[in-house]
Symmetry: C2
Subunit: 107 residues, 2 copies
Amino acid sequence: MSGKHQERDVYAAVADPTRRKLLRLLADAEELPLYELTAQFQMGRTAVSKHLAVLKEAGLVVDRKVGRETRFRLNAAPLKEIKDWIAFYEKFWTERVSVLKKMLEEE
Amino acid sequence: MSGKHQERDVYAAVADPTRRKLLRLLADAEELPLYELTAQFQMGRTAVSKHLAVLKEAGLVVDRKVGRETRFRLNAAPLKEIKDWIAFYEKFWTERVSVLKKMLEEE
DNA sequence: GAAATATGACACCAATTGGTGTCGTTATTA
DNA sequence: TAATAACGACACCAATTGGTGTCATATTTC
């Protein structure tokens, strides 16, 4: 029955620079607790926590409690949806179209 | 100096479903005036026009006036930025890595 | 056991977003 | 030339977003 999460638009989750940075941090570190992630930003813990909640609702992040801390882990799979979406548009930035674009810009 | 537009985050531009649908309509039709695009949605003309403005600021759309109408055209190139960004994360949803991840977890 | 740490859960707030309706102007068309 | 069509530019509004600070609680650590 594939009981999946992702109750939130992946595109929207990824639209925020802070959240993209969070994904990157988790990509590089495998697993990180909230307080370490927070240390990488200027905003407060609550704000970072909210961003992580958004990522979690999009399925891009998984969290587990370890003692008093909550550790976060990347789950990049949902990004596949965006990748597939973009794939459709790749044909539009090939040679032929880019020539047309130059023409429009040089008027 | 490559005087480029794109004063707006492409990720944010693409985060809205209405704007994604607009891109798709333009992809299929090459060039469309505002009133025809508007006809595809339930919202009013002003709303659609605003969405197109966002896409334009992100460089995803080009417009030109023809008579009394403003025609819009797709420019998919800026999507390349997202594609490249995603490429980095592709390694995280491939089989091999997920197996490796399990191994690391079971030590 | 007392103090410090890490966090969740709120309440709160300003700015942004996504929509509306209206008015004025420029092109078409009858 | 008079009506209509397409649009830009506003003013306006409710809901969402992205941030803050505070308080309560569970876990470590001294």
